[in-house]
Symmetry: none
Subunit: 207 residues, 4 copies
DNA sequence: GATGAATGAGATTTCATTCAT
DNA sequence: TATGAATGAAATCTCATTCAT
């Protein structure tokens, strides 16, 4: 019999979540078995079900975990008092440098095609978190004279959703080039919609 | 023992595909068992695997089938010589009245959350089919004086993708109201981007 | 729902192996379904696959099990300090009286033609185990003055292999008579090769 | 529909058998599907079952076919009036130069481990065919003064069986060296049993 | 003689979940 | 809290064989 290792519930729970995250990112939710999660986490099966009622539960937990991480990180940027709207946009769209979220640009979180389940949920989360923030930043930009029009939250949501679908799905098989074209298109849309000077958002294409 | 019913391969094949379509739409791909497909199609298990090498195969076949149907229907509309751009847009966005594609509005094909596999593939197909068509129609609209700007295919793709993600996923739980707000937003975006008169595309919100 | 009976892994594992052995001996490996094994063992399907990764696995396990049993039994005989070479030969060729290996004469283990998979593996095992032992015993026999020549291990292997093929395969359909003729032939071969007195090994034919 | 190609029954039958032979030799009987046989033979499924009642049937037919080929070839050698016993032995054990039986030495026919079904049957056939022939040749050898003792058919069978098991099974994983040791052992056995001069049959080891 | 669509009994395997310890 | 043996429903797939044409 294996040694029985007792840990504080919160610690253990998080360990399991993190183990699951790794596997989900690598193989996708469906293709990750509870078996492999417990192996990765170094626990017994019963322990898994002691912490999570069902496999789905850990997906939800993971998403919540990632979501709240994202939120706190992005909030930090959006509410920063010294940054201009453009700077904030850059930071947010590029992805925070030292994010624990795989430290990868926001645009690139979880592109794996086998990850639809997790991905979609996260996309939704991120859209829900980001859209209002970005809308606020755009409003700040209007104050700063970059934009002349207000861009609604819905509009931002739609654009974020579109770009995520387009870029994430991995189902269109984009070349790096095509990808850049898309980002440029997105930038131009924002310029036109916001009434900004042409080219003022071009930096987006280079993220 | 069951009686042996021999049919022409094409007929049988389509029958099976159609049976699968029904079940996929009702329960989703994953939750539809081969067992249930053969029951619905009234064939033996072996027959299924005589026509399709694996379960995945029928998904691919179905998608191709739907894709080519979509294409022919939409092409018919887009190339119609007597319709104005606005009329064409209405027709296409509303979904063709008697489409065999479940005769449901294009916006509403397969909203079930359990249908991700099929849905996403179809979304991609439809975006790939629709975006160029719509771009062409918008160009026609420019000639007709409705728009002053050209809207690129990429831009259309992005908007379609966005709206599909937002509307389809069923993961945002939209109220009918929220939905309308979104469609209105989308219409306004197109107006602004295309340089159309405000309100000229409002009909989109009423589809 | 069945009651859950928990046992020590070793016990359970052996139970399953033994159940499989019975069925393999009765119907052959190929014709024995996992279904029937679990029925015989009184376990759930999942339990089988908890212990054995695949059906093949249990064959391997069974062969190993039988092999090591054979080995320990034969070793006991061959190393016995008080027995003459002839006595040892008798014991080994007759098969140990109370062997757990189906308590059947070594020559007769698994003659079923449908058992080729298991049989061949076992034949190989038994040849590899027996040949050196027998060669040693024959050497002892030489010391005891029964033989004048040394008989090499390879030679023993060849004779064992031949007799097993001839007797086991069940593919020659031997009468009991023919069988005896063969055993006598084998005895004579050993006598001549070992330079023993004619008739000194005749007992082999009566096993 | 495919063109309907009509052939003389015997021709067609043989074609199918030959197609099967190829596949059996490559993949073994069990792993060869009727499907693949008809593909190889270029016929329809019905046609197969028109000629052979069941899959087993074609195995039997193939074995008979090969058996009778073997027989006629070996008979030709054994009954040759001008050859000495030694020459005949060489020829037979080496395998006939241009045999259609894969033109391979008799010792090497069908060593594939996946071929047990076919192999064993053929081994039996070949033993049954060869043993009497070889016994006759050995008797001729006695007349020619090479041997002083008679070697019985059973004895030859046993040795053939042993060497086939040992060499064929491929389950002992023999090095070329080990193999030669075995052939040498076999030669020595024959010498001793037949009372021949030591070394007179050494050529066997070099086949 | 020949075709190939159709059959269906079985076989193996997976894995989320439970529960006695 | 923790363990891991046990469960069993469900799923996919194979393939020898049949039979209407």
């Amino acid at each position: 019999m294996k040694k029985r290792i007792v840990k504080k519930p919160d610690v253990r729970r998080l360990e399991i979540i993190l183990a699951a995250q790794q596997l989900f990112e690598k193989n996708g939710y469906t293709k990750t078995s509870v078996e492999s999660i417990i192996a990765e986490a170094g626990i017994a099966k019963g322990t898994f079900y002691y912490y999570f009622k069902a496999k789905q539960d850990i997906l939800r937990a993971l998403i919540e975990h990632m979501g709240s991480e994202m939120e706190s990180i992005f909030n930090g940027v959006a509410e920063h008092p010294d940054l201009t709207a453009t700077q904030k946009l850059k930071k947010i769209l590029r992805g925070p440098e030292k994010s624990k979220i795989s430290s990868s640009p926001i645009m690139n979180i979880l592109h794996k095609p086998e990850n639809r389940e997790l991905q979609e949920q996260l996309n939704i989360q991120s859209i829900n978190v980001l859209a209002p923030l970005i809308a606020t930043i755009l409003a700040q930009g209007k104050k700063e004279g970059i934009f002349t029009n207000t861009i609604s939250v819905e509009c931002v949501q739609l654009i974020l959703a579109g770009s995520q679908f387009v870029l994430d799905s991995g189902l269109f098989s984009w070349s790096a080039q095509k990808r850049k074209v898309f980002l440029k298109t997105m930038a131009e849309m924002l310029e036109r919609l916001g009434g900004a000077k042409s080219g003022s958002l071009r930096f987006i294409a280079n993220l």
